[in-house]
């Protein structure tokens, strides 16, 4: 149950052009900012939107291909969708919602209801079969939506921002449950989200799109340590610069030189976490490398630390303890010295 697709959708100025594959049992997250084309890609896969170019091949069957005028209507492709706001049918009970798919595919009523009951039991809602969608909590509705999509035994499962409508606490719990259900599902899953945590925790592989195009793919480790764009770097909380490397010295376009722990030649990215940046009131003595004067642009809370945004020869984010922040008198406009430990800065080739 595998997916190979190239999705090209043109809408005015916007063009989505996306290669996407998913192996049986694999969970692929499509991660990107709002307006990147994630939902468009999902709608194209589901057949709710015709692609202008490219192809969709599901289990070796070419379900969409404009070049040969092939298009399969949504009701004839076996693709389950969990919509962002779930779209549970308001006039039906939870049980009827889940039984709807099997019924629509011609399964006898009693069998469909038995299937639906089993699915609702699996997602822990055996007690809520008769409830209407509006009587369910957000987390429960999400699970009904998942059961409804899976009850049709889809060859591909699509999840559109499956956790976005939930509050923080329910989200944590539902995410863990969803992870369990996805690992029990044999088909391929494509998950759309703008939340890096959802993507990292639920997906085996991440496809990051910006402005309709793939900017980076990889597993969680690759994405979190080697971001290729500012957007990804911001998502995973790293400082990211592009420059030319000679040995361990990377020259940025501004002429500023960063010393890294790794040696590379040519076009590279340099990444380091905000916690690797230390701040001093006076110029630190000792190693003159990776030390520069900077001006505090903003101070905000970030977990247990203070996140300091600095301007200067390079814009950089630094994390310091609240105690250090008070001691240094960090407030916008203050000039200080920043120092980066070379051992914490890694360089890697720019793709």
């Amino acid at each position: 149950m595998s997916l190979q697709a190239r999705l090209v959708v043109r809408r005015g100025d916007f063009t989505l052009d996306l290669e996407l594959t998913a192996a049986p049992g694999e969970v692929v997250a499509l991660l990107g900012p709002n307006g990147a084309g994630k939902t468009t890609a999902l709608r194209a896969l589901a057949g709710l939107l015709a692609i202008d170019d490219g192809h969709i091949v599901l289990n070796d069957r070419r379900i969409d291909d404009p070049a040969i005028r092939a298009f399969t209507a949504p009701e004839h492709r076996r693709i389950g969708v969990v919509f962002q706001d779930y779209l549970l049918f308001p006039t039906m009970s939870a049980l009827e919602n889940v039984a709807f798919g099997p019924r629509a595919r011609g399964v006898p009523r009693a069998t469909a209801r038995a299937t639906a009951t089993a699915w609702l039991d699996r997602v822990g809602l055996a007690e809520h079969l008769r409830k209407r969608p509006r009587q369910l909590s957000g987390g429960q509705a999400q699970r009904v939506a998942l059961a409804r999509a899976l009850a049709t035994e889809p060859q591909l499962l699509l999840l559109d921002e499956p956790l976005a409508a939930l509050d923080a606490r329910t989200r944590l719990e539902t995410r863990a449950q969803l992870r369990g259900h996805l690992s029990g599902y044999a088909g391929a899953t494509v998950l759309v989200t703008h939340d890096p945590l959802d993507a990292l925790m639920l997906a085996d592989r991440l496809v990051i799109i910006e402005d309709g195009r793939v900017v980076q793919t990889g597993d969680a480790a690759q994405i979190t340590t080697r971001p290729q764009t500012d957007y990804v770097a911001r998502l995973v909380g790293l400082n990211l610069y592009r420059g030319r490397s000679a040995g361990s010295a990377v020259t940025l376009p501004s002429g500023f030189v960063l010393t890294t722990a790794t040696t590379q030649e040519g076009d590279v990215f340099v990444a380091f976490p905000p916690a690797a940046v230390a701040l001093y009131a006076e110029r630190p003595s000792g190693s003159p490398r990776n030390t520069w004067p900077a001006t505090v642009a903003s101070v905000s809370r970030h977990g247990d630390a203070l996140r300091i945004e600095l301007t200067g020869p390079i814009p950089v984010a630094a994390d310091v303890t609240p105690a250090a922040g008070v001691q240094l008198g960090l407030e916008p406009g203050r000039t200080i010295w920043a120092s980066l430990k070379a051992t914490e800065a890694t360089s890697y080739p720019a793709a």
Partner: protein, 250 residues
């Protein structure tokens, strides 16, 4: 405030007049006159049949207008509302020209099936449906526009055809709108006069509905006209009140 009260009085006062002038003492005998009961039965029957016809044809038409975009949709929507503003007598004349024995379709219906519509009970239903259908279409189209079309998409991803999605998902969601439209439609059909008398004539027991009987009675026996009017008023108000609590919430 004053214009509001004047407006209310203007709407209610004629009904009060009807009650004041009603021949209460002779009411029971008058109500059981065979002519009256026949007219009432015919009115209820034709209005109900016309409503059923409007629902069967009007709901798909409303769906088409609300959900499918096609060239000329605005024009079609305007055409649907024409019977609403058209004087009913003109509607009746137009129906005669089309379904009359020598009409565009009537001649064909007559020669092929031996069916003639004008001056028959079926003709009454046709005339009433023609006049009342816009009420249903407008009401259902409004309800459809208010219902999120994405539910139909969700149904499609679950394997439902368009028809199944409409029948099992959308129709239950817009049921109050359909009910409201059907009630308006029925009330309009019940009161239909102009198109009916033009297209179906005024034959007691066959095409003489209550409004026609009222008109006829007014020329001979005012009290009879009042009794008929009162009956019509009671029937419409009763049906409206009965359905209002059940389906139509403001």
């Amino acid at each position: 405030m004053v214009p509001a009260f004047v407006g209310l009085a203007f709407l209610v006062f004629p009904l009060v007049g009807l009650l004041v002038r009603a021949p209460w003492t002779t009411l029971p005998e008058r109500l059981t006159e065979p002519g009256i009961l026949a007219a009432l039965r015919l009115s209820l029957l034709t209005a109900s049949l016309a409503t059923v016809a409007c629902v069967i044809l009007g709901v798909p038409l409303a769906w088409l207008l609300a959900r499918v975009s096609f060239p000329g949709r605005k024009l079609v929507r305007a055409l649907v509302t024409v019977p609403l503003v058209l004087p009913p007598v003109v509607g009746g004349v137009a129906l005669l020209l089309v379904f009359g024995r020598r009409g565009l379709l009537g001649a064909w219906l007559d020669s092929t099936f031996g069916v003639t519509l004008p001056f028959t009970t079926t003709g009454v239903v046709v005339a009433e449906a023609f006049v009342a259908m816009p009420f249903l279409v407008i009401s259902v189209e409004g309800a459809l526009r208010g219902a999120d079309a994405r539910y139909e998409e969700a149904a499609a991803t679950l394997g439902a055809s368009r028809w199944t999605a409409f029948r099992r998902v959308t129709l239950p969601m817009i049921a109050p709108g359909v009910a409201a439209g059907a009630v308006l439609c029925w009330a309009r059909a019940l009161g239909e006069f102009g198109a009916t008398i033009t297209f179906a004539g005024n034959f007691p027991g066959r095409t003489q509905t209550m409004p026609l009987a009222v008109y006829l009675a007014l020329e001979q026996d005012v009290d009879a006209a009042i009794v008929l009017s009162l009956l019509l008023l009671v029937v419409s108000v009763a049906v409206l009140a009965g359905l209002r609590d059940k389906w139509i919430s403001p």
